[in-house]
Symmetry: C2
Amino acid sequence: MKLKKSPLAPRSFPKLPPLPGAALAARACGVKYRGRNDVCLIAFDPGTTIAGVLTRSKTASAAVDWCRAALRGGRARAVLVNSGNANAFTGKAGSNSVDRVVKTTAAALKCKAGEVFVASTGVIGEPLPDARITSALKRLSADLAADNWKAAARAIMTTDTYPKGATRSAMIGKQQVTLNGIAKGSGMIAPDMATMLAFVATDAKVPQALLQRLLAQAADASFNCITVDGDTSTSDTLLLAATGKAKHPRLAAGLALGDPLLRDFRRALGDLLRDLAQQVVRDGEGAQKFVTIAVRGGASGRAARRIGLAVANSPLVKTAIAGEDANWGRIVMAVGKSGEKADRDRLSISIGGVEVARNGQVVAGYDEAPVAEHMKGREIDIAVDVGVGRGRATVWTCDLTHGYIDINADYRS
Amino acid sequence: MKLKKSPLAPRSFPKLPPLPGAALAARACGVKYRGRNDVCLIAFDPGTTIAGVLTRSKTASAAVDWCRAALRGGRARAVLVNSGNANAFTGKAGSNSVDRVVKTTAAALKCKAGEVFVASTGVIGEPLPDARITSALKRLSADLAADNWKAAARAIMTTDTYPKGATRSAMIGKQQVTLNGIAKGSGMIAPDMATMLAFVATDAKVPQALLQRLLAQAADASFNCITVDGDTSTSDTLLLAATGKAKHPRLAAGLALGDPLLRDFRRALGDLLRDLAQQVVRDGEGAQKFVTIAVRGGASGRAARRIGLAVANSPLVKTAIAGEDANWGRIVMAVGKSGEKADRDRLSISIGGVEVARNGQVVAGYDEAPVAEHMKGREIDIAVDVGVGRGRATVWTCDLTHGYIDINADYRS
């Protein structure tokens, strides 16, 4: 099945500038696909720190297990990613494959095994043909170049309908630093399971402990606020490497996230992750509409996010949006099922900026016409005030369409 | 949109015998639908105890609020149910409607308001035209008869494609008692929200506190083990009334659920609720396959149920079943995302009785042919051993098909 490019795709892949201390290469190794690149190597200069956020799945892949252990070292020289095979649910053979890939990469780049990070995405339950990857490592190392971001973004695609990348710059003191990132993911991947992978690098010099705190906070307001179908991959991986090439005031490992020195970097990192996360949603399987759900009045920010995700994951809300139906009753239902505190009689809902319900009742003289018009667009905005406290969160999702069923049911593996 | 009868429907509505102490009536009141019964009254003789399990939704309807309060009294003389309008998210007007309906019913049956239970299902956010109901109460009371179970089951339908009923008998000591029940629900109800309603009566004489414990336990292994789309209605209501007409040994309020005197009654109640619950799943919107997911090896029974529901609610698992694809990788994914403890390397999965994966890997020489054949049937059996402890649970669901999208997206309210 050839997938058509999502109607919600950005116009084009952005121009990612070279990032000092990072180089990339992509090759066609024939892991599964023919005639396209399917392995990418990102190499970092010595001194690079790394932070990561990994899937919470209790059945995580061998590659995720490896990364979790390697993050304790906190140093990175390489990230090696393949598409076509997830190396998940492959037992001991799977971790042996990881060991071989890591060892060969470390040898090619003359670094320690613990400085090599790996990620795999694609078919699960099939042994990873790792020899096809390891035999290409010399050529991959030889091909490393600073301007291969787009090629890398393409190599990690599975059923994505477009490559995903983003770049931002930020000031730390008087020094400008760059952040580049690539991602993949489009809901769950036919014929198997989805995976969200994102790799971000910056030339800022950030101690590992601080980098991890920065990433965790930014991931919480971006990748942890998106959903396509509520399903969680065994392989979700988000890595942030800091090459330390930029000359800016020293950042102490214990620096508070609120420190003014970090302000612009935090803004840029948050912005970049949100951009990548939204690109993943815009490529959601079968997606025809991009949906923003802003929740306020929650008992806490966390509660507001849970309410937002309950709305975003509700099949009834998602199908109503697909049907361009301003069905606010289903939003009420989803708020109620989230399990978080909500005051039915203070609940307010707006769609496309028009208040539909206030204090638990449809607004007097509610005119559906402008709301119905809004529902016909590509970008749907839903705002919910649950009337309990001051917690806020925004989550992003897409609609649930016949296209989703086509991709996931009608396509036999 | 005229809905075709589900291919998973039982052959016919069972013959429900008269139940001493209970009488029913149904009428066409024009709450919303034309030309069909849409209100039903179930009346009980004095001395009837009642237990209930109500939606956990934080945006529950006014009727649910009323029932929760009335259950504290523990006595029932009437259950009044309407379809066509859920009286949910209707603010103060909604609870005023409930008050009027309750008062009129109490007057008609010469009982206390606190002995009247109500339930509403249908469109939400619209005021309940309660005068159409209250004005029919005299005629409803006059029509009360012991053999109206099927008419009552029909009157509470919304987008259900068939009426749902079940009957069982049980021995308490040397006395036979009867249990009759009716239910409605088919996932969430287009164009609004779904509701699962079930009303069960027995002629056994059971003190309220014991009845509540019996019902909670049986609901946990039946209605709390089904899912169509993971969405929770604001109005879900399950009531169990005991008229006390049967002459059996006295049951003390504090009797242990494990007491031999209760054994057969518990079996019958569990069996009846499971039957009704499965009938709801078999009428799931767009359902083409009935799916049983048996989980064992969980850290506890509760953990096993959560794992089962994670599998049952996964859009990827449900679409794979719709596509007749024995995609066990998606089952692994869903187990992993449940958040419950699972041992990836001891996980085993069987489909249609054939072991597909064992100890975290596909079984050696796995032959997909018999599994693929099983996937073509109407009844799909999935068994998962998560390899952690001794907890077990079985849950039931249906597949996710184009029919679900048709009903919920393409049908405009």
